[in-house]
């Protein structure tokens, strides 16, 4: 292939290309090697890491929906200590950048996990999952409160000079408000979107399909919503956006770039087609070459829209 620049930088860290795998859909990066050439990826977002290991929710944790799926894994994870001891050494040997995704139930826990990871080599940056219950506020979700969201960003910013990415929840009225809040606290990027709250019921048993009643909706079904959220955020902030939500193929990925994402993450489709992410890596390069580009960056925000943003929420 002709030379087209696929790499990009965030806070000085260079990523080989713009295709990442989303947190929770690729384990800790060490489980898929027989199925995916991880070295072809722009980076890997690890499963969310908490301070202590978490068992996760009781079964059932998954329900299939039309062109999508619900999950209520409950952030089952091995904990940050086991991650450092058992996973990181092998990950350091891959050439792909590892972004540690962090989940917590208090600002203190976010800080503790990040501080511990700060002392480790081989971590390219952090993605902060704020779709978590704040135990101090009776379990209210951090991610739906702009003040708490800003407080997390500002506390963590003080602790690291590595790229700090805040992963936003779509379950809010104006996601751009949250993006602006973390941008002004010094976050280097935002990930848009985490899952949407959804539910499914088994009409035979009359019980919810998930043990937690509701769960997070992901997959191709949510792509149009994710794309609109990325577009809203792109109009509001200057920091890079990781576009996430239902990305299945290279066309989907390019839609996100055009809407304003600097890079994309592939989530649920990793389960359906383990090769999805690497196919997108190849396809994106091919598309850029076909369009006579010299840098994939030329696609970012290159949507040709002739009307004003202000009609966005009107007269559906």
């Amino acid at each position: 292939m002709a030379a087209v620049k696929t790499s990009f930088k965030i806070r000085g860290v260079e990523f080989a290309n713009r295709v990442f795998v989303a947190s929770g859909t690729f384990g800790y990066g060490d489980e898929m090697p027989s199925l995916v050439d991880v070295n072809r990826l722009g980076g890997i977002m690890t499963k969310s890491l908490s301070w202590k290991p978490r068992d996760g929710n009781p079964p059932r944790r998954i329900a299939e929906t039309t062109s999508g799926m619900l999950n209520s894994i409950g952030l089952a994870n091995i904990g940050v200590h086991a991650f450092i001891a058992n996973k990181l050494p092998a990950l350091r040997r891959t050439s792909t950048k590892i972004i540690a995704n962090i989940a917590a139930s208090s600002i203190q826990e976010y800080c503790d996990v990040l501080s511990l990871l700060e002392q480790q080599e081989g971590i390219a940056g952090y993605e902060i999952n704020i779709s978590c219950p704040n135990v101090k506020e009776g379990g209210l979700n951090f991610g739906t409160d702009p003040k708490m969201t800003a407080a997390i960003a500002s506390s963590l910013r003080k602790l690291t000079d590595r790229p700090l990415i805040i992963k936003l929840t779509p379950n809010v009225t104006h996601i751009s408000e949250f993006a602006r809040a973390v941008e002004s606290e010094g976050a280097d990027a935002v990930s848009v979107i985490n899952t949407l709250i959804g539910m499914a019921i088994d009409v035979k048993t009359r019980k919810p399909k998930l043990s937690t009643v509701t769960g997070g909706l992901s997959g191709p079904a949510i792509k149009p919503i994710a794309l609109a959220k990325v577009y809203e955020v792109a109009k509001a902030v200057k920091i890079p956006i990781f576009g996430i939500g239902g990305i299945a193929d290279v066309e989907d990925a390019i839609e996100f770039l055009l809407a304003g994402a600097t890079a994309v993450q592939v989530g649920t489709m990793n389960f359906v087609d383990p090769a999805a992410s690497t196919k997108i890596v190849n396809g994106m390069e091919r598309y850029a070459i076909d369009q006579h580009m010299i840098d994939v960056q030329q696609l970012v925000g290159a949507l040709e829209a002739d009307i004003k943003f202000s009609v966005l929420q009107s007269w559906l």
């Binding site: 027989s34 062109s67 999950n71 089952a76 649920t268 389960f271």
Partner: protein
């Protein structure tokens, strides 16, 4: 719990798809590497549609191996299995496998008691062949809703039960094996079972009462099938680790390891 063969994703040519009982099909496809490596109890995860609905892959036990061909048995229960049942010879199928931990054949027993509820028979042709090869005696207890669903090819010494009494014993397969165990008692048994969760729960009870080792093959909603998504937990009795993953640590478990619940 170790599985040496790494799973592979492959486009496989469908060899044949035939209805062998009411809404039950035998589907075979070519997958040489899998045919060479698969062990009884392992499964494959199949993408049924090129569109994104249905989205997730569907898990199926490997039922038999014939040369390069892999054979699965499938029952139409929803749109995914309906679409699969319509596959024609020559079509391509996106298959991931081998997945999961096989049944353990090396344990101390001389007689294998295979217990199948409905399409729970699927993994047992392959298991039966393997057991016979290592000289074990096999007795098979197979229960179906009614005679129309019977599909017991490639099994040994079959004891049949139907819910409606249309063939064999009128009642559950658990009752059937219970009766069997009443009569004989010198052999050293191991139970291998696959079927509805309720049946597996009843067998767990029976195994405890009779002190017979039971190895169960679980079914349950999966997303990735490869241990990545944490979507398929089964509760462990062990205090240290609360859950195991059906897709990666199972689908085969000793009945004494796990706390089966209806949600599984």
């Amino acid at each position: 719990m170790s599985n040496e063969t790494k799973p592979q994703q492959q486009w496989c040519v469908v060899e044949n798809c035939t209805e062998i009982a009411e809404k039950i099909f035998r589907l075979s496809f070519k997958f040489p590497q899998l045919a060479a490596a698969v062990q009884p109890g392992q499964f494959v995860n199949i993408r049924v549609s090129e569109t994104e609905e249905p989205l997730l892959r569907r898990p199926f036990s490997v039922s038999r191996v014939e040369g390069d061909l892999i054979e699965i048995m499938l029952q139409i229960v929803g749109s995914g299995t309906r679409i699969l049942s319509e596959k024609k010879s020559g079509e391509l199928l996106d298959v991931l496998g081998p997945l999961g931990q096989p049944f353990h054949l090396q344990a101390e027993f001389d007689t294998a008691l295979i217990v199948a509820g409905g399409l729970g028979v699927a993994p047992f042709p392959l298991l039966t062949a393997a057991l016979m090869k290592i000289g074990k005696h096999v007795e098979t207890f197979a229960g179906f809703r009614s005679a129309q669903q019977e599909c017991t090819e490639h099994l040994e010494n079959i004891h049949l039960a139907t819910d409606d009494g249309s063939r064999g014993f009128h009642g559950t397969v658990v009752k059937l094996i219970e009766d069997y165990l009443e009569k004989k008692s010198t052999a050293k048994y191991k139970v291998f079972a696959c079927g509805p969760t309720k049946m597996l729960m009843a067998l767990t009870e029976l195994g405890k009462r009779k002190s017979i080792c039971c190895e169960l093959s679980l079914e349950g909603q999966m997303a990735c099938g490869v241990g990545i998504c944490q979507g398929c937990p089964v509760e462990l009795i062990d205090e240290e680790k609360k859950y195991a993953l059906v897709c990666k640590d199972g689908p085969t478990f000793l009945s004494t390891e796990i706390n089966l619940r209806e949600a599984n």
